[in-house]
Amino acid sequence: MRIDNEMKLEFLSKSQNESFARSVVAAFVAQLDPTIEELAEVKTAVSEAVTNAIIHGYGCGTGNVMIVSRIIDKTVEIEIRDFGAGIADIELARQPLYTSKPELERSGMGFTVMETFMDKVEIESHPGNGTIIRMTKTMKTA
């Protein structure tokens, strides 16, 4: 597999870094010459995954969130990793409208949005050791 380009980004799990993270990934993906719609879809999916890492991975604590993104031909791969709580029941977490924090007015649509906007979403989680979300999307216009 030939990797055409790669970047890594690591930042503290502070909510003010959400817009920073999605903007960096969008700038990296821009080299594939995506449509405005494709770029908005990638930004939204990244925002959902980073928000999950901050709210559910670390909760009231703070840790690091790592993003690794690769471009292979017309496809972007994005890995978003936290080292926090992990997800005990991945299938439950993926259900539309499910939220483990209803008191926070969460919509419970984060994974559904990621799955709709990206071509493929994989979740690897180890309770107590964190979660990795791997997403890929092939740009149709590149």
């Binding site: 719609e37 925002s47 969460r106």
Partner: protein
């Protein structure tokens, strides 16, 4: 985050200026709720013209405000929604509970009729 409020009779029009994500939603929520508590509007219209990005955190905030207003018999609407945000609203089924209007004039006329 700049949030502007204006009224047409008892319809509160909320003009949000900036991205709506998990970081900004707490400020948006508290400013709108303070306005609702102070002025007791009947209905609410979100003017999204200056919102370039929204994720599902925003859906939670909008539904939360809809609940507040609808509990008192009012209606909630949105207008000037950009296409990429419209897709998110469709995925989440938001338009089934918060009507989306093509422009502010139509929104005001429709919400005020009720």
């Amino acid at each position: 985050m700049n949030i502007g409020f204006e009224y047409v009779d008892r319809l509160l029009i909320v003009r949000i200026d900036g991205d709506i994500d998990h970081h900004s939603c707490e400020e948006i929520r508290s400013k709108i709720d303070k306005e609702i508590t102070l002025k007791n509007p009947k209905s609410i219209l979100f003017d999204m013209e200056q919102v370039g990005f929204m994720d599902s955190s925003g859906i939670g905030v909008l539904i939360g405000r809809y609940k507040l207003i609808s509990n008192n018999g009012g209606k909630a609407g949105m207008t000037n929604v950009k296409p990429q945000i419209m897709r998110l609203c469709e995925i989440c089924g938001l338009q089934k509970i918060i009507q989306i209007y093509p422009n502010k004039k139509k929104a005001i006329a429709s919400i005020k009729e009720c």
